[in-house]
């Protein structure tokens, strides 16, 4: 280090010294034992879990002995728990927890897909999972941009609705699906502009504005939907083509998942990295984060806090509005009342799970997309012993476990939700 800080720097603990994690250890050990019991007592010895590459290599199918795989995964989980109970180097803790959780979840997957009639169609499921994660991704990214600048955007649901509705409408009017996407973005922009104005100029409680915007968007789109029904051909479904990247699309697993998707997938993935770059590597990002963290500090350095907030929130609407287009255009659907079904709120949760970081948001959205897809697949295959409703709970339950078990306290930007009055101390 070039310069000494002169002040005493306290001693760092040697991270390789083992520390006991009693609670986490006990939980993982119990989970591991649970899996082992299932593996040997419940699962039949000859049960196989079938994994199929259903899109590229049509006749390749792996039959894995369920008991063996589950036993290995269960032992892994239990071992992680035992290690934690005995004492584990502090810096290994997170990684080992993540491995243990993954092993546990996979063991359950193997169990679920060992039921007769179920096949884990790897490519369809993964491709579907990526596609299903998109609304959470767009919603949460929009939330990240807003909240990083200190404005809570609880109105994502409303922006989704506006985007979904306007996207179809504009596509119908212009006859061009891409114009529809732009229309969705503009609709999102206009609805967040109201949030921006009320939150900055009029200093209204941001949660209230968000709740109101949701109500307004629901009322407005439902009302307009009824109006449009009277006119023919303003709410017809418009589809976007699936892009196939030639030979890349034929690569097993990766091909169908990454190179045979709709443009929404690519925009979503690119956006994650763009927002990340903007936020952490540019002047705009530095100022945005400063304004969300300590607006008075930014102000004292000549940054116009409320103007920056205003524009950030407004522009974030482009993202959530585009996310709205996912519901209609990406799914080739016409608009219907309240079609976003509360996903905007889940996107909010994904944003928190992702710790207000675009990369974290990507991870959170993928978890959600994956569990939703698996739940639907199991429900549809009819082989599940668990009622469909419980399968549908899966994404929510997994999020709860992930948040409570691994993420713990997520720290919001310090000034998130606090209106800024220039001249405040």
């Amino acid at each position: 280090m070039a310069v000494d800080t002169m002040t005493a720097s306290p001693a760092l603990v040697d991270e390789s010294v083992p520390v006991r994690y009693a609670k986490a250890g006990a939980v993982f050990a119990a989970l591991g034992l649970f899996v082992l019991v299932i593996a040997f007592a419940v699962v039949g010895g000859d049960d196989k879990t079938l994994i199929r590459f259903d899109k590229t290599l049509t006749d390749v199918e792996w039959a894995m002995p369920t008991t063996v795989v589950m036993a290995v995964l269960g032992a892994l989980t239990a071992a992680a728990g035992a290690w934690m109970l005995a004492g584990i180097p502090k810096r290994r803790f997170k990684l080992v927890s993540a491995i243990a959780v993954t092993a546990f979840v996979f063991s359950l997957l193997f169990w679920a897909y060992s039921q007769p009639g179920t096949v884990f169609r790897a490519e369809s499921i993964l491709a579907g999972a990526l596609f299903l994660s998109l609304p959470y991704l767009f919603g949460a990214l929009s939330g990240v941009v807003c909240e990083r600048s200190g404005v809570i955007n609880i109105g994502i649901e409303g922006q989704f609705l506006m985007g979904a509705f306007t996207g179809v409408l504009v596509a119908n009017i212009t006859g061009n699906v891409y114009a529809g996407m732009v229309g969705a973005m503009v609709a999102g922009l206009l609805s967040t502009m109201l949030l921006a104005l009320l939150a900055t100029k009029y200093q209204v409680n941001q949660v209230v504005v968000g709740v109101i915007l949701n109500l307004l968007a629901l009322g407005f789109t439902s009302f307009m939907y009824d109006q449009l029904k009277k006119a023919e051909g303003l709410n017809s479904a418009f589809a976007v083509p699936t892009l196939s990247w030639g030979p890349l699309a034929d690569i097993p697993v990766i091909g169908p998942v990454l190179f045979q998707q709709k443009i929404f997938v690519y925009i979503g993935l690119v956006l994650v990295f763009v927002v990340w770059f903007l936020l952490y590597r540019t002047r705009w990002g530095l100022r945005t984060r400063a304004v969300g963290e300590h607006p008075a500090a930014a102000d004292s350095m000549g940054v116009n806090v409320n103007r920056l907030r205003y524009w950030n929130v407004t522009v974030a609407g482009l993202i959530s509005g585009f996310g709205g287009a996912w519901f209609t255009i990406a799914n080739s659907l016409a608009f219907s009342k309240n079609m976003t079904a509360g996903l905007g709120f889940v996107a909010l949760a994904v944003m928190i799970v992702g710790r207000w970081n675009p990369l974290g948001v990507l991870a959170g959205a993928l978890i959600f997309g994956f569990t939703t897809q698996v739940a639907r697949d199991l429900d549809a295959s009819g082989g599940s012993v668990v009622p469909g409703e419980f399968l549908q709970m899966l994404p929510y339950a997994v999020t709860l476990v992930v948040v409570a078990g691994l993420i713990g306290k997520a720290k919001a930007p310090a000034a998130d939700g606090v209106p800024y009055n220039p001249g405040d101390k």
Binding site: L132, N331, S332, L333, K337, M339, R376, D379, A380, E389
Partner: protein, 340 residues
Amino acid sequence: ACGEAPSENGGDGNADASFLACMVTDSGGVDDKSFNESSWAGMEAAAEENDDIKVEVKESSSETDYDPNLQAMVDNECNFIIGVGGLMTENVNTAATANPDTAFATVDGFSEVENVYSIQFDTAQSAFLAGYVAASQSKTGTVATWGGMKIPPVTIFMDGFAAGIEQHNTDKGTNVELLGWDAEAQEGTFLNSFEDTAAGKSTTDTFISQGADIIFPVAGPAGIGALTAAAENDAVNAIWVDTDGYESTEYGAELITSAEKGLANAVKDSVLAAYEAANGGEAITGSYVGTLANEGVSIAPFHDFDSAVSADTKAELEALTQQIIDGTLTVESPSSPAAQ
């Protein structure tokens, strides 16, 4: 804002009509692309046909709205009040008992109250035929159905559909498999929503990836999701419910046929009958059950698939229909109309 003023006031429907027919919807609203909407279409058709009939509707968002809505219709001095949905039957009964001079009707429910007319449908019969067609048309040997919610008006379709496939398998020695509904166990795949089209699509995609090439969504508007999925897959087609989807949806090209439920007609007839009754005709009482026999339920024409469905199959359908009408063949479902 610079048009010509019309020479006279635009007439407001049948503004001066003497007979007021009123409808209270179930949750989902009057535009639910399902039984509320069909019933309302029947009401409007009646008003269209008879200038002396005026129609009105109130939507319920949950069953706790039934009573105030029915009461409001009574207060409105409606001459004929229709409650849509089996759940409302008891509320209709109560209102009818309290207002013995007003005619009532209940759709999809059965009532023994004197002034309540029951309108029910044995849709298992039309779904049976649809199932038979599906089995005959499937290339992969796998077809799928899924429902909006596990309620009788939905599962009766699924039961009939399953029975139709079974019939085809027995008669023709095929081995067509049905995903999404186990009639024996009365268990299957449900979205738990009639609105979530996106979930409908993704569920259908899942069935497609499991090999299904004909999808039978029984979920009102959420079923549109299945049609989009079919539209995106050349090899996949669908069968619609309630109305002829070739006309009521934009996805006619995907639809082999539809398991129709003649709700609109039945409602329309009942309104017209109630009008007659009010004007000295015979009072409408008792119940109506739509069946293949009275053409209250049916399967829609094949439209674009007319050439795809073989003449043999058509003949077999003809025969099966006849057997059902005769009563030599019964399509059973635990959800079949309660009392005849």
